[in-house]
Symmetry: D2
Subunit: 143 residues, 4 copies
């Protein structure tokens, strides 16, 4: 039964199942550009309520968007993955009104763990943050 589900869900369908209840990713206002097995690309616009006390985007919002991209990429195969450990390098501030582009790619995929990298760039294609995440595969099926 689970095996069956795993084989029929497409990356697009898994994303829809996940998004349906993902209140925080909705709050981020994320739009999908593409989703495939082990990878995705998405974008969002920096809003006033995402700023820190220095008038630039809160590091937590950047991390959150990257973490969402990571989650959609590593869950795209249809099995439920959770994040074990993540790190993020902040290289450049981003400001209200800017649109940020996130690209998640698979660095390595093992039986139980996998590594993904997510880049966040601004409209001038300058790097705003670089994220790396280690996923743990629970072997459970979505849906």
């Amino acid at each position: 039964m689970q095996e069956e589900l795993r084989n029929t869900e497409t990356p697009q369908r898994v994303m829809e199942i996940m998004m349906e209840k993902d209140e925080f990713t909705k709050w981020l206002g994320i739009e999908f550009i593409s989703i495939e097995s082990g990878a995705c690309q998405l974008k969002f616009k920096v809003r006033k309520e995402m700023l820190n006390g220095f008038n630039s985007i809160h590091g937590g919002v950047l991390f959150s968007a990257a973490d969402s991209a990571f989650a959609f990429a590593c869950n795209s195969y249809g099995l439920l993955n959770v994040a074990l450990e993540c790190n993020i390098s902040f290289t450049r501030p981003a400001f209200e009104g800017q649109e940020l582009l996130l690209t998640a790619k698979e660095i390595n995929k093992g039986k139980t763990t996998a590594i993904y990298e997510v880049s966040v760039v601004n409209e001038e294609e300058k790097l705003v943050a670089l994220f790396k995440g280690v996923a743990f595969n629970t072997q459970k099926v979505h849906g």
Copy 2:
């Protein structure tokens, strides 16, 4: 002039200046328990809009709260610090309605960089996440 300001702002006052415009930390609903030089303790309650598609708190929200605690601790001396690199280990899910306690402490403080650790625990004092951040001191004054 800057020197003067630096000496007169207390950790409590720096936090108030930062919080005044920190829209995202307000969104998180963070309450301060204590703030002193190089350390702080704060708490927040997990709300519905903080959940991911698996009905537990989005990793980005946990990171965000830890990043805020880190920011308040490393800016407490009155000079503006920014995050260079952060990492977070996720050890246990947290759910809607739970109250999480964050404790930020200074691991090391150099002239231009410093390292902080933030623990996030639930009401049973079980570890939910462990965060480490590297701060860069811009030498600029708050206010």
Copy 3:
């Protein structure tokens, strides 16, 4: 059979089995101060061949000693663990002739993964490096 072995090997015995063939940890000249379930303390002396081009200890040697402490701590239960992801903060240089003390402690232990932290301090108890490692439990037995 495996269960039986697991229950009879002590942390001390697992360490001896691991050390017997661990050529690199021998090269580091590591001495054990204590070893118990999920924790250990060890020390080593900085030698000339451990230096980088700036006359201080190579960051790789610090990482290596911390990684060994992490390995002994997470393997102490008798099941073979491997490192998935590690990070290290360098806070202070160390020089030839200094003795460094490493303390590994368990932050969290799940069924398949665990998190350990290792501090490295010099003879004045000043922090030289702080290491965090994520271990994956292969469920195999040592020996």
Copy 4:
């Protein structure tokens, strides 16, 4: 005087100055394939004394080689850089006799800090480890 030196030292010359006294990198048996501003490629062979108790390369040796590649890349501009924070993902074991190829590239370069990524691949071009390092520029000149 310092300005003069900075402008005349090539990445190749900085590497030679660093290597002259870098006892540990010599121990690793590292050979340079290429070195340029902000990047380098090097290789080394896994020897018996680099193994851990499981007959594969010690994680500390992998980190050390990556850390050396990072150091050569970020010091290539002629100003002395030190590592603040590094992380490494281990994806595949490597064994005695294998030759590993390391490629260091610059992700971002600011005035005082920079980020580098180093990949370690085996002879089949499979990823063995992925390293990220944050460098701090001391503004001092080599030589």
